[in-house]
Subunit: 188 residues, 2 copies
């Protein structure tokens, strides 16, 4: 999931999603995006290393927030409860941007290089959660297995949220998928 | 994990790993590889679409084998047991090539583009296992969550196998990591 903070970065992001949706990712240049957002290319490159990254803004900060929330959780809670709590902080922020997130997903689905980047971002989240669980005392392997399952659940929950015709919240979908993860694991 | 069948493809694979290890992935050309293997570039491109793919041979066949084994498993076995059985067929084939697999892994670790491709291959395995579990009657979500956890376990088990100073078999490491997945999930 990407976050789009207010200001220049969010304007560039919105302009990019608009243009990628209209004329395609490949046929849109950074100059097109900055012109549409009324900003300079210099500003663009202050925020993003390249055109592709405009679709993955602030994921480092998102990951850092999740890691911090895992680290701050009470010691007696189960690893999965801790992760669920960390991933459902501030989901209203995403709910307010569901339309843009849906369009972003459709753009990602058009190109293998964008899907590969998304996988790399999810792998970075996985690694970060693994480290945060180890810091709470989980073994390396147990932390890695829990993080991988949690990231898969997060991805599926986000998919369900984006596809939900009833528009229920991201928190609802995440809580529901994590419950399903527990039920599923009982049959392993 | 890559498989290296006998013949031209395996010779190209071995020559590539040799050269990538010696002089680096970037500084090795397809011409270098074919010359070292005593084969033509035409033969190379009959087997691989590009230089990168020489490090990911036959993964489509591996995935197809796993899917077939999942589909052929008795209906009364648990989804995870079915996957474990499917992933531990024929692991001796990998054990006989552990040295090459270790060197391959070190090459992958040197470049982000190779790690991203590895992630994409693991995602393809995940998608295939999800489909195979659905065909056995699992719900979409349950199948996807089980497949994701299983692929994570497979990856970690393979890592442990490659790093094991005692050289225990891949089957040993896979069985052991799947047991740990079950123990871990009990604490979720």
């Amino acid at each position: 999931m990407g976050r789009w903070p207010a200001g220049a970065q969010e304007r560039l992001q919105r302009a990019a999603i608009e243009l990628f949706s209209e004329r395609g990712y490949e046929r849109t240049t950074v100059a097109d995006i900055t012109q549409s957002a009324g900003l300079t290319e210099r500003t663009f490159y202050n925020h993003f290393v390249d055109k592709r990254e405009v679709l993955f803004p602030d994921q480092d900060r998102f990951i850092a927030d999740v890691v911090e929330a895992v680290g701050a959780a009470p010691a007696d809670r189960s690893p999965l409860d801790v992760i669920i709590a960390a991933l459902t902080v501030d989901t209203e922020w995403f709910d307010r941007r569901r339309d843009a997130a849906q369009r972003r997903r459709r753009i990602l689905d058009t190109r293998a290089e964008l899907r590969e980047r998304e996988l790399a971002k999810m792998a970075a989240l996985d690694t970060a959660i693994t480290g945060a669980l180890r810091a709470r005392g989980s073994s390396n392997t147990s932390a890695a297995l829990t993080a991988a399952a949690a990231v898969a659940a997060y991805r599926l929950g986000t998919d369900n949220w984006l596809a939900d015709p009833r528009g229920r919240t991201l928190r609802h979908h995440l809580r529901s998928i994590f419950e399903e993860l527990r039920r599923t694991a009982e049959n392993w």
